[in-house]
């Protein structure tokens, strides 16, 4: 039996072991649909058993989206319901086996990739959408639901899911919650700490807990026993320590989220978008301030992009540049638009959402007139219909994938005070703004580890010297946890470790991640 090298759970008291064929046999006996729920390349102990072709599929789970992190897990489990998650976790807890929960595997810090050969627990088959209450707007669903499907479900019923990120076609809501994903609606609806109403979680010892959610057998039993009427998830519930907040952003280190209740606002009937062009960062700041003042409550998103990024979208973007007939699209016109020409332009995408299109149009009109007359913008485009609005968003959402196609990218997601963005960008000599993508050599896809370390040090020290955050949105995973000790005080880290020990005394959940290794 191999001990996992280099993995210490935070308490350092126990060492974890990888799964064996015996464990696989146990799982075969307790899980349903075993041909689906169990994916492994472990051979039978006596050498018998069918040769399976699981190599390719296992690789998919063992590798992250950026292709930076590679695990060596031999066993992927895909439970079909909460009860199966519970039996898996309690078994692993009993037997000191490490587990890495995984959702859509779209994370950018390697949080869902095992460090070595921990079991990968995929939530993808927990994908039922249960209910959307038409009065409270609270949507209850399983953690493995794909974000896009939740959007479609909510839209059909006249509601809007308050979380939207570029990976929504693949990412799952459980993963979003575990990483406290931000996204383009963060500005308007706040983060998940504000919109998640309830949760069902499975603790590392197998216990199932419900926080302000009424779907699940133990809640039903409790209700029956105590004669309590079930009444669903509520927006207001002020009863005791709000434990669900610990799980939001815990990156799978405290337990597994299996169900979610999220509050959805009404679907706005009126949406508008404008793509604006400024010739300096000062003007960009001016536009942002004016947007908040003039558009007020209907402002729903502000995205800033720079010239370098849009150039890469034009050269490496897929189906962004042409319509079905091969003609020049919006991006071409944006890059060709007249500007003052003093320096490289900066671009903003501004979106509004509201319930009254006349009201929204007149606000947008006044806002744009004011900007144009005060010369805060050189030029701009206002969407005239849904097609143009979708094209504007397509350009924005193509930024990351296009840059990734241009060469090996060193990615950073940082928070700094807004006025300091451009100074940070110049110091780092990079593409600038919050999502910093550094492509040292176009066309080169090999990651240079020493170069990566060098760049990382420059970026983080710049950010930290301005009291910014080294991870605005993407989380810590296995890429940033070592920095945690540089930016949090010893007492803070100590309390975090204690919380971890309370929930996961044997340290089986996502070992080696999130908190710094030596604690």
């Amino acid at each position: 039996m191999l001990a996992i090298r280099g993995i210490h759970n935070p308490s350092g008291r126990f060492s974890l072991r990888p799964p064996t064929m015996n464990d696989v046999q146990y799982f075969r006996s307790v899980l349903s649909r075993t041909e689906r729920s169990i994916l492994t390349d472990l051979m039978e102990i006596d050498g018998a058993g069918d040769y399976n072709d699981s190599g390719e599929e296992l690789q998919r789970y063992n590798r992250d989206w950026t292709k930076t992190y590679h695990g060596s897990s031999s066993l992927v489990l895909r439970p079909q319901d909460t009860a199966e998650v519970s039996s898996i976790l309690s078994y692993c807890h009993e037997n000191y086996i490490g587990i890495t929960p995984q959702g859509g595997n779209t994370g950018l810090c390697g949080g869902a990739t095992p460090i070595t050969n921990e079991i990968i627990l995929s939530l993808e088959d927990l994908n039922n959408i249960h209910h959307l209450d038409p009065f409270s707007g609270i949507l209850q669903c399983d953690a493995g639901c794909i974000l896009q499907n939740l959007h479609d479900y909510a839209n059909e019923r006249g509601f809007l899911l308050p979380l939207d990120i570029g990976s929504k076609g693949t990412c799952q809501i459980g993963g979003n919650i575990s990483t406290n994903a931000g996204g383009q609606y963060f500005f308007r609806f706040g983060g998940l700490h504000g919109t998640v109403m309830g949760m069902e979680v499975v603790l590392p010892n197998g216990e199932v807990l419900h926080f302000n959610m009424d779907i699940g057998s133990d809640v039903e039993n409790n209700a029956k026993e105590n004669g309590i009427k079930r009444s669903g998830s509520h927006r207001k519930d002020n009863t005791g320590y709000d434990l669900k907040h610990l799980f939001i952003g815990a990156e799978g280190t405290l337990g597994v989220v299996t169900k979610v209740a999220i509050a959805c606002p009404a679907l706005p009937s009126s949406r508008n978008a404008a793509f604006l062009i400024c010739n300096s960062y000062d003007k960009v700041l001016h536009v942002i301030k004016a947007a908040k003042e003039d558009l007020g409550e209907i402002l729903s998103a502000i995205e800033v992009m720079d010239w370098n990024t849009l150039q890469l979208v034009q050269s490496h973007g897929i189906s962004v540049n042409e319509d079905n007939y091969g003609r020049n699209g919006l991006l071409g016109e944006i890059l060709a638009a007249e500007t003052s020409g003093e320096s490289r332009p900066l671009y903003l995408l501004i979106e509004t959402q509201g319930s009254n299109s006349e009201h929204d149009n007149s606000k947008m009109d006044a806002f744009l007139s004011r900007l144009f007359e005060s010369c805060a913008i050189d030029n701009g485009f206002l969407s005239q219909d849904s097609k143009q609005m979708m094209e504007m968003w397509k350009i924005r959402e193509s930024c990351n994938p296009s840059v990734a196609r241009a060469g090996c990218v060193y990615k950073f997601d940082v928070s700094v005070p807004m006025k300091d963005y451009v100074d940070v960008a110049h110091e780092v000599d990079s593409d600038g703004n919050a999502h910093i993508n550094i492509v040292p050599k176009l066309g080169n896809f090999d990651k240079d580890k020493s170069l990566a370390k060098l760049i990382e040090n420059i970026v983080y020290s710049t950010v930290v010297s301005r009291n910014g955050s080294i991870s605005a949105e993407h989380g810590l995973g296995q890429s940033k946890n070592s920095y945690l000790s540089k930016i949090k005080t010893k007492s803070t880290l100590e309390i975090m470790s204690q919380v971890k020990r309370i929930f996961d005394p044997r340290g089986i959940m996502n070992p080696g991640k999130y908190l710094p290794l030596c604690q």
Partner: protein, 276 residues
């Protein structure tokens, strides 16, 4: 040179249409639904502006592009979009609340009669460019009816329009069997051309043009007044020639079936009689 472009305000093409089955023929929900310019009308405006621009380049007489729309107050926004794209002025024939601004009350026959009146009132219109059809009614009748009323040469489903030196229009049309080229010679009456998808890609209005558009003149006249001015019987204009019998949503797409193996797939295909 004068080009008239009738444009229609319809439910935005990307919106999912909701039907209230209790409302019969009026079942399509219009409340609080995003409306935009009919995509084919956008293409017509774009073509008109291109003709204007090439006339300017060839140093011919300045061409004028006039956008016309019939419908409720909000049609004014649709006209502003046309002006922001480059049209010179607009005419808004405004309907009141009791007239539904869509294919139920404003039907091709009535619209074509009104447009005939506008063409004659404007005088010296060389070309009328329309979208081939609107995406709400999909009738495709307004252009041909108008050409009939005006006794005009017409070409529908235009994929390419070229203006010749003698003032004639050479039009390539898309048909099921291939492309057909027609030459239209406007004489006393303007040429009537309806535009298809492949004709052009409409431009995006830029900020300077959007600002300029606010100052361009738009004549607003009520439907009653316009009918009176043109000597038309309003009831005759609004009388429906097409009767909407029923409106319903298409049946929902059936869920696909998952199969576990190639053999199972073949079995299912045989079951459904799709393979021998």
């Amino acid at each position: 040179m004068k080009i008239l472009v009738p444009i229609k305000r319809v439910i935005d093409y990307a919106i999912k249409i909701r039907v209230d089955p209790t409302k019969g023929a009026h079942g399509v929900q219009l409340n609080n639904v995003k409306m935009s310019m009919n995509p084919f009308c956008e293409i017509a405006i774009e073509e008109a502006i291109r003709i204007k621009e090439s006339a300017a380049k060839a140093k011919k007489d300045a061409a004028e592009v006039v956008a016309v729309s019939i419908g409720p107050k909000q049609c004014g926004e649709t006209i502003r979009t046309a002006l922001a794209m480059g049209a010179d002025r607009g005419i808004h024939i405004e309907t009141k609340g009791d007239v539904r601004g869509d294919y139920i009350d404003l039907q091709p026959w009535g619209i074509a009669r009104l447009l005939k009146g506008v063409v004659e009132k404007e005088e010296n219109v060389d070309l009328v460019l329309l979208g081939k059809q609107s995406i709400d009614s999909d009738c495709g009748q307004t252009g041909p009816l108008l050409a009939g009323f005006l006794n005009s040469p017409q070409a529908t489903f235009a994929a390419k329009v070229t203006m010749e030196d003698d003032g004639a229009f050479s039009v390539e049309r898309e048909t099921d069997t291939g492309t057909e080229t027609i030459k239209l010679n406007p004489g006393h009456s303007p040429a009537v051309i309806t535009c298809d998808l492949r004709l052009n890609t409409p431009r995006y209005p830029t900020m300077p043009n959007i600002m300029k558009a606010k100052k361009k003149p738009v004549q607003i006249i009520s439907l009653e007044d316009m009918a009176k001015e043109l000597g038309l019987d309003l009831d005759d204009v609004l009388k429906p020639r097409n009767e909407v019998v029923e409106v319903y949503e298409p049946p929902p797409r059936k869920e696909g079936e998952m199969v576990a193996s190639v053999d199972e797939l073949i079995g299912k295909l045989k079951e459904k009689g799709l393979v021998a």
